[in-house]
Symmetry: C2
């Protein structure tokens, strides 16, 4: 096992604005770390991945008894950089859930040791299709297909390496919640609490359909070249279309209407043209596509959406009830009223199975207008629920 650490800048960034919440601070400057595991990872497909690297970040301090660790799992387009800043540049945006992770925040780094790692198959430091294969060339589609179970199996090596026997909690939204559930089922003795947000124990036909359409947009890009585009132009147009589509599914009809309505883009009257965006919502989607292609690898998009589609933890264990009967954790399940991509019914399916299995679970239907994105955007409402759950559980167990 090799520990690789990126250069740590010693200067600290300006403390970010706390917007009237002085007790809620930033974790400040953080660094991406990574571990190279030179051992085989046997994957669900039958293939083996060796070696593999896990990139991750940590925040806060592991206590002496190693009982205060929380693993946060990221969603499709996320990565291991959940909070803080990598540089001192004032233009840098913080990690993807910065509002949730830090001193005094929902995941309070004054109390908890928070870990977030990039999934295998990803493109932010963990081994994925854009990584070099043992032959020195990028994997491309030679990278083996991975599942949520495989992602978790890889994370287990990281948690072992950090010397943590049992996680106080695993938390995630969307695909992150799938990983949290997978942990609790596959490794019941290693998870005390699960925070499962805006997700499902089983990807539905509609969810698969949206992901497949995004993949087809990538396949249709002539730069994709069956995944062999590294060193040449990337299939950015196809990836941008996939992202635009996905982005619509992350918002709600209502939030799009409130944010854009039929506002025109840089015009008082309709230009009646195909040359440029006419409506503000078109310009916004184009911007989302452009931003995404700068930071994300198209092949990783294919692999990760496949992993989401494959997820059906009940099928893996005979039934959802049988799967959750394995768990020992206490569950917090939350769905969001306006989330039509991962509707509340899916969260409730998990809750009913947990209840039927006699497990401890609380369910929250959080009233929030921002669709699937609510779990990221409505931090205060999520914090109210998650914060008290963590408080209860830590008073009971830590």
């Amino acid at each position: 096992m090799l520990l690789e650490q990126e250069a740590v800048r010693t200067s600290r960034p300006q403390e970010p604005s706390t917007e009237g919440r002085p007790s809620h601070g930033s974790v400040g400057l953080v660094r991406r770390q990574s571990i190279l595991f030179d051992r085989p990872l046997h994957l669900r497909s039958g293939a083996t991945l060796r070696p593999f690297t896990i990139a991750y970040e940590t925040y806060g301090t592991l206590n002496e008894s190693r009982t205060n660790a929380i693993l946060i799992c990221h969603a499709l387009s996320g990565d291991g950089h959940v909070a803080g800043y990598h540089t001192t540049s004032p233009d840098e945006k913080p990690g993807w859930w910065d509002d949730a992770v830090g001193p005094g925040k929902m995941f309070d780094t004054d109390r908890f040791f928070v870990i977030c790692s990039n999934v295998i198959g990803g493109c932010q430091g963990s081994t994925g299709p854009s990584s070099l294969a043992p032959d020195g060339k990028p994997y491309g589609l030679r990278f083996p297909v991975v599942t949520i179970a495989d992602m978790v199996q890889a994370q287990v090596h990281l948690i072992d390496a950090l010397g943590i026997e049992r996680l106080f909690a695993i938390a995630g939204g969307s695909m992150g919640a799938m990983q949290a559930l997978q942990w609790a089922v596959a490794l019941p003795e290693r998870v005390a609490n699960v925070i499962f947000l805006a997700s499902t124990p089983r990807s539905s036909a509609q969810q698969i359909a949206f992901n497949e359409t995004g993949r087809q947009a990538i396949y249709a890009d002539p730069n994709w070249k069956h995944g062999n585009y590294y060193g040449g132009p990337a299939p950015t147009r196809g990836l941008a279309v996939a992202r635009m589509l996905a982005h619509i599914t992350y918002m709600s009809d209502r939030s799009m209407e409130a944010k854009f309505g039929r506002t025109l883009q840089d015009a008082d009257t309709l230009p009646y043209t195909f040359e440029r965006p006419e409506f503000a919502v078109e310009s916004y989607l184009a911007y989302q596509g452009e931003q995404f292609i700068r930071r994300f690898d198209a092949n990783s998009y294919l692999y990760i959406t496949k992993a989401i589609d494959y997820f059906d933890i009940g099928a893996d264990y005979g039934s959802l009830r049988k799967a959750v009967q394995r768990t020992q954790a206490t569950f917090l399940v939350a769905s969001f009223t306006s989330d039509w991509l991962y509707p509340a019914e899916q969260g409730l399916e998990l809750v009913r199975a947990l209840e039927a299995a006699g497990r401890s679970v609380q369910f929250h239907l959080i009233d929030a207008p921002f669709g699937h994105d609510s779990f990221l955007v409505e931090v205060d409402r999520v914090a109210a629920v998650v914060g008290s759950f963590l408080k209860e559980q830590s008073e009971a167990r830590v």
Copy 2:
């Protein structure tokens, strides 16, 4: 005005199966007709289209007083072939709303003279971007941008040519309903009844966003060549992606789950591959894309989705209330419980405006599981509502 008629086959097809409804027959063999109008059509954008052809079909017989005509307006991917067969081939599928148009059906051709025309901008006989411009070359993107109001203006020439002063009814779902509403507002004295199904008086940000993503998939296809692809390979991959996306929005989460769930395609266990569809829903979407590119022109897809996006009849007349105050028709508005693309709230917005303006309107929220497609698929439920509406209105007025 030139009347162009396609060759009429004299043999009749086998009477199609009536599935236990002997009173509900097929209109049988029908033919596409078209009229070339050598006069200018002044468009909303300021451009002029001249000449223009309207392709259409008719079913039933116009009565002597010319008071029994019903104009059916098609949706995005429809055309003027609403019912019956063009050939005697047993493999031919009937028109797109065959269950609704015929002897004894919802639009009873024993009583009504039913007309359906292809919209301008389309690709099934009416002038559109794939038509030859006056210079003898296909228009491509030189075709002027059209709106729903322009489509209706072109239809007016057809209805004039057929010698019909006042339509007994105009009916349509989705974009078809937009045209019906446009008729009633722009030409109030010429429309007695409006049947407005699964639609909106105003395209929303989310609706624009889905259409724009489909357009971006077409633009991203290197065969699109800024619309100049006629004579060469067409941007079929981009168009197929656009269709796949749209198709998801026409179904409901529930109907996709019932139809496909997580059923695998030709496999007992997951193949874990990118080489072929793994889930049945993926195969179904691919099939929908393949079928669509055989019959539809990518540029027409761009123009027609733009027309839908532009639709906001309230904005055209100062407010929705002011727009509907112009109408003289009796309205039937129906929305469908599972239609998340055109949710009931949008139909109700029109209903409230009509009521506020003192107009006669009835609203039906039809409980149907098939999403936006319900207006086409749930013919019996639609027929129950539309049939009694037409009966009431015809007893009152014909």
